[in-house]
């Protein structure tokens, strides 16, 4: 938070894109924020759509009819993609925040070590799991498109 007018974040939103030697994990964090914003926007609308069932069957049918167009189905799948990524990367971030898969602190003596060797496999694993979830969900969405 700001203290006595001192700017703690000089890059602002551009810091999401570039600000030094960003690695894959940093861009994974940027994508985590972007997917979070997308999910939040969808969720706020979803509250109103879901609550329309309280207005009766006709209102529900009308709302569902409006949302049954292919464009909304594609959008729904994109939200599903965002959810899969955000959830799995979130697991990785929580583990990192709690200090797991970072290695023990040590003096910067040659040969140097960093936590990337321990972190990168975790990123790969969560992305593979996210891909599996996307494929499983994609089967359902394809069934929806094919009218089953």
């Amino acid at each position: 938070m700001q203290d006595s007018g001192f700017r703690t974040n000089r890059l602002g939103l551009m810091g999401w894109v570039s600000g030094g030697r960003y690695g894959v994990e940093r861009y994974a964090y940027t994508l985590h924020r972007l997917t979070g914003l997308a999910i939040l926007a969808y969720f706020l609308l979803h509250i109103f759509v879901s609550s329309s069932r309280a207005l009766g069957e006709q209102t529900w049918a009308r709302v569902m009819g409006y949302l049954s167009s292919p464009a909304f189905k594609v959008g729904e799948f994109l939200v599903y993609l965002a959810f899969a990524y955000h959830a799995l990367n979130g697991i990785r971030l929580v583990l990192t925040e709690l200090g797991f898969f970072l290695g023990t602190p040590r003096q910067p003596l040659f040969p140097y070590s960093n936590c990337v060797k321990k972190q990168r496999p975790v990123l790969v694993v969560v992305m593979v799991v996210a891909a599996v979830i996307v494929i499983i969900g994609g089967v359902d969405f394809l069934r929806t498109f094919s009218g089953e």
Partner: protein
């Protein structure tokens, strides 16, 4: 020393973990429920929606998921906005607006859930 912000952040993580479980259940029901025979017919059809809405377990899941998702999402958005070096007064205004907005959305969602739970099908004339 625990500060207010660190407590809020801890709840952000807890809400995220809760969403992982609850939204996972919701996604499974909505997208794979008919495939595994848990949901009969169209999962978004009125009959199916009302059948789920009248189950106490689903009511509990929906209310908890609504609260956790609203907190997790709005706190995340608040964090992003606060990183942009906004004045302290603006931070307080945003915090108040997000609390009021979140509570309002929660009330709307819970209202819809309980109205659906109490739904009585209209009598069919003979």
């Amino acid at each position: 020393m625990r500060t207010r912000e660190s407590t809020l952040w801890t709840w952000h993580l807890i809400a995220g973990a809760a969403i992982l479980v609850l939204l996972g259940i919701h996604m499974f029901i909505m997208h794979l429920g008919d495939f595994f025979g848990i949901v009969q017919g169209d999962v978004l059809g009125w009959a199916s929606v009302i059948e789920r809405s009248k189950e106490v377990a689903f009511v509990v899941i929906y209310v908890l998921l609504l609260g956790a998702a609203l907190y997790h999402g709005l706190y995340g958005l608040r964090t992003i906005i606060f990183e942009l070096n906004i004045p302290e007064r603006a931070e307080r205004v945003i915090s108040v607006l997000f609390v009021l907005g979140g509570v309002a959305l929660f009330i709307i969602g819970v209202y819809g859930t309980f109205v659906a739970y109490s739904y009585v099908a209209p009598a069919v004339g003979v």
